[in-house]
Symmetry: C2
Subunit: 514 residues, 2 copies
């Protein structure tokens, strides 16, 4: 399981790759976050036990639906569940018992072994926005996303220091046929970046294509023995598991690839309006989903997911960065840890139409809550706008910069003799100042997190330089990053094989746009 | 101590006041936050003990300076400290022992008893920005603050649901002589609002004026037996207590009024660059200050304050919303609780020049950290801009709206039978939806925090209505609030007495602008 990806695959085999490596700019990627701080927990022991007992009751008495999926129903029947039509009622304790074979943490390998990530435990892995059909930037406004936009986001994610993961559908490339875009998206992640990525979930056959392309990139045997994709399988809350998502999950689980099993909750619509009620339903749904993944292949990596927003009861719109969503997330983290499963939640959530102050308040609320709730895999950690309808270029780099604050906070408070700084306090004394003292000189370069984007200049300088707001600074940063992008080296033989696979698959079937 | 403010004082005695009361709009003010969530703690037991031991060493071996204050030096000498020149070295354990007589929580009375606040324990009281010499709004840009601006901020604070406190120097009214502006500021808080407020600290005589004006508003005897002001006395870090601040503290403590005793730290300049070192110095400074307040009057209310920012080592500018400041604040909260003292920290901190995305990220980071670190009194909770140089009108209402999220989060997760929502989950079942179910109908009005400012509309509606960003919405909200302001009723006799006091004091001395 913990085998290293073969070295040659990250180095590139040909002269062209070696030349590319020599001339490329050094791109710095932070190691995934390893928390030296506790998790923030809002549920008492009594609340936890109540919610867990209620979730068991839901599974046993109400049950969940597995839609258009006779094989799944048969697996549940064989496991001892009560199956009536598409309704699966799971005897008390069975789901929890099945969940126990899923690993508490696992390594997702990247083609560059230095960028492999460990998902679970005290770690947090950050991946970009997923799924928007639209993009926005200051120059072009709001428009349907294209493959060109997709490629730009993959490049930006590759160049973002605080992103550990390239993500999946960073936006929907709507100019590519629906039945073929997964191929181009995977090719982009595999060739434009060397960070880990996600597979397709929109058809079981596309999940299989994802596995096959990984076979080319990593080697078939490596893929069978290691996890090289983490993919997102949503539950249709309340308590419905559709055949498309479950079909993809079956492919991934059978191939030892990780799935995030994630209720998609707009509180008050897909779950009760109360926090405790939502947590109960989320727990029941995730237990059923993870249990099912273990019926497909015991030991397949599975992540406890929770996508949670509130609803604006006036407009019916989902709302983000709200306290109720935070409470659900903090509670879900506790429930995930008690199941010994990695936890996915939070992100750069906002309902704003623009990357303005509303977007930033809502996003900061979500990002902070994500770190403190013990999230292990944070999808949507940058670039999300307008309730997820839009992937925004400026917000992508703004959020990606803020992810640095999470890295800083996660360090906690070390108290080595040097950290205690008693010599500095003695040296400076009452009325002195620390700027010049030995301890400051020795430590100032690494002492404070520093933004690569935000403005810290004095007012007068800032005004002379054009009085630019964050949005304007972000536009410049997007341009700077994209104009300095250089692809990571890749063995040309692998690239050719991937391109041939994509061409062959595309030729196999006519274009479909629905 | 817990005596109610006399009823007549909040009702108003005259016909004019009664008429005003009848026609006034009902202004809703939320009760101060009572946390049903735990505090977030970053220091281990070992780290706490190390920092506490080091702080004792600082006090004993390095000591603190009490500048130009022979009476203070004498008090310390009498208490058993080693005083050499202005340096006070405090034997191990003495400061902590003296701190023990300060109350763990206290009531600060408002002239409207419904708006009195309890500071300490699980409570959090929110007060607006304090101190900026400049103001900014979209219409007038950045400019020196005037008394007219000051009055507007007091009105906005009065009308803000989530602000429990009217604050103090919400901006510096630079058009009023320095030696007289405290009179106009106090008169504004006392007449334009009925929320609790802060006293002047810029001269001991001005602190005495504050006490005397409270004597008129509340009655002299009431003031002597109750706390009606919470005032801010900063420590000149490192470890320097100047005569102005300490002189004001002496007045307030002698009159049983509360002081926030607050190191003012720009990390790397006024304290070591390390979090542990900063915490050590902060603890030593606060213990010395609180201990001193108890030498003046044992039992006088005192708050453990910590104003913390980082420094940008390139420009020397203070930076806000940074992870290191958050870690210091979380740790300081722990240290304050171990001293059994109320805790003041956090606020709507940002370094941005505009109320843009930078401002909102930084502010949201600070506000969330403030709630979770166990802050009991949050000064600067709205309206702070540009490192505290500017009080911004739009940001004031933007931040004040976000304070609602803290109220929501503090509720925690109740698990009553109704909260568990099992009937709803059974009623809706797999594939259903919750919008129409009985539990949702019964609870939706109070289930989710709702912004009074942010935009939740669908894109098309938002675009048709002018595609307004948060800043533009905030400009409208400031106008709306100010144009609907009506003063709370006040006994005309009290108003006249206050105005007479102010006029008399102003006539006593020539204007001073330095």
């Amino acid at each position: 399981m913990a085998e290293e990806a073969p070295r040659r695959r990250s180095r590139g085999g040909g002269g062209a790759a070696r030349r590319a490596e020599r001339t490329s700019i050094k791109i710095e990627t932070a190691k995934y976050i390893q928390r030296n701080i506790p998790n923030f927990e809002v549920l008492t022991q009594e609340a936890l036990e109540t919610i867990e007992a209620n979730a068991d009751i839901i599974l046993e008495e109400v049950g969940v639906n597995f839609v258009d999926n006779p094989a799944a129903l048969q697996r549940w029947r064989d496991a001892g569940a009560d199956v009536q039509g598409e309704r699966v009622r799971i005897p008390r304790g069975l789901a929890r018992k099945l969940c126990a074979t899923a690993p508490a943490e696992f390594t997702q390998h990247a083609r560059n072994p230095e960028k492999s990530v460990v998902i679970g435990g005290n770690n947090m892995v950050l991946a970009p926005v997923y799924g928007p059909p639209f993009v926005r930037d200051a120059k072009g406004g709001r428009r349907y996303a294209t493959m060109e936009d997709f490629n730009k986001f993959v490049k930006l994610a590759y160049m973002s220091k605080w992103l550990h993961h390239s993500g999946g559908t960073v936006c929907e490339p709507t100019d590519i046929p629906v039945n073929k875009r997964h191929l181009d998206m995977l090719l982009a992640h595999m060739t434009l970046s060397d960070k880990p990525f996600m597979g397709s979930v929109t058809e079981p056959s596309r999940a299989q294509d994802s596995v096959d392309m990984c076979g080319i990139l990593f080697g078939k045997e490596f893929v069978q023995n290691n996890t090289v994709m983490t993919s997102l399988t949503n539950i249709n809350s309340p308590m419905t598991f559709d055949d498309v998502m479950m079909g993809s999950l079956e492919v991934y689980a059978a191939n030892n690839q990780a799935c995030i099993i994630s209720p998609f909750i707009v509180g008050g619509a897909m779950a009760p309006v109360s926090v405790a009620g939502t947590l109960t339903q989320v727990l029941a749904e995730v237990m059923a989903g993870v249990a099912y993944s273990q019926l497909v292949r015991p030991g397949a990596p599975a992540i406890f997911g929770a996508f949670v927003s509130s609803i604006d009861m006036n407009s019916g719109a989902p709302t983000f960065g709200t306290p109720e969503a935070s409470l659900v997330t903090y509670g879900a983290g506790q429930l995930a840890r008690r199941l010994n499963l990695p936890f996915r939640s939070a992100g750069s959530f906002c309902g704003s139409k623009l990357p303005d102050a509303q977007a930033a308040y809502e996003t900061a609320n979500s990002l902070n809550m994500g770190l403190l709730s013990g999230v292990n895999f944070m999808l949507h950690s940058c670039g999300w706008l307008e309730g997820g309808l839009v992937a925004d270029f400026e917000k992508f780099v703004m959020d990606a910069d803020q992810l640095g604050t999470l890295h800083g906070l996660a360090k906690g408070v070390p108290v080595s003799e040097d950290d205690q700084a008693m010599d500095a306090i003695r040296e400076v004394g009452p009325g002195g100042h620390y700027l010049g003292c030995a301890h400051t000189q020795a430590n100032f370069k690494t002492a404070f997190w520093k933004s690569d984007l935000l403005d810290y200049k004095p007012f007068e300088t800032w005004e002379e330089e054009g009085a630019r707001d964050t949005y304007s600074l972000a536009t410049s940063r997007v341009d700077y990053l994209l104009s300095n992008y250089q692809a990571p080296a890749l063995d040309p033989a692998i690239r050719e094989a991937l391109e041939a696979f994509v061409a062959e698959k595309k030729a196999e079937s006519p274009d479909a746009f629905m």
